[in-house]
Amino acid sequence: MKTSAQGFYTQAATAVPDVKERKKESTQKQPARGWIVVVWNDHINTMSFVVHVFRKVLGFNTSKARIHMMEVHVQGKSCVAKENREKAELYWEQLKGYGLRVTLESTD
């Protein structure tokens, strides 16, 4: 992750609204199981941008967003959410929309 010239951190967090309903063709009802959303480090997205995205998409407060951002920065990745499949996919696409590197992992 790139260190911005002027690191700064914000206070209040507001989550983005739910995305519009997806038209997905699925003939099978997926069994309920846990999915982990993992954000990975890269050398283009800045630290403050990642903090901002975590606040907006995941609803983290500033402190939590910074902790997860530093995990990404230092450890290379951070598990930012553990949800059912539907919610995990929503987070994946929203985080991808901001240009972050994201993967989904099943807890099974």
Binding site: K24, W35, I44, F49, K56, W92, T103, E105
Partner: protein, 150 residues
């Protein structure tokens, strides 16, 4: 105007399907390997199409922004008031441009930390200049909206 040219370029790229893009850009913008390894192989086309539609949906907004910029008097400072409900889209668009340049110019991590004056002239240096410029714009926007939220 620099931002106007960036927006025009992006709007053309957003129209393209992932497989129509240069492979470097496709890997940067449309990387879905993180889904495929989790058993989503059968949904590959859906997710690629979904990511592309997320981008193409921004084209209307980008066109509106370009329309605003085209009215700016050439060579003079201008003020661009971005409505609050468009700011997140603007951040996404600007970041897409940074990612696009990084992929196109094959910017490596060490390039991002190199002293700018020591870089040889060429596309990589030009791309880094723009990547850092857009970073500064992003940072300014994030700081501005964060102050509004406080």
């Amino acid at each position: 105007m620099v931002l106007e040219e960036i927006l025009k370029s992006l709007s053309l790229l957003y129209l393209k399907a992932p497989d129509e893009l240069d492979e470097r850009i496709r890997r940067q913008w449309y990387d879905i390997e993180g889904l495929l390894v989790s058993g989503y192989e059968h949904e590959r086309e859906y997710w690629l199409g979904h990511l592309q539609s997320m981008r193409s949906e921004r084209i209307g907004l980008i066109s509106a922004w370009i329309g605003i910029m085209e009215k700016f008097p050439p060579g003079s400072p201008a003020v661009w008031d971005v409505p609050e409900d468009q700011v997140e889209s603007l951040l996404m668009v600007f970041n897409d441009h940074r990612l696009y340049l990084a992929a196109w110019a094959d910017i490596q991590e060490e390039d991002m930390h190199m002293e700018f004056t020591k870089l040889p002239e060429g596309p990589k240096k030009e791309s880094l200049l723009m990547i850092h410029f857009m970073e500064a714009v992003q940072e300014w926007i994030i700081r501005a909206i964060s102050e509004d939220e406080d």
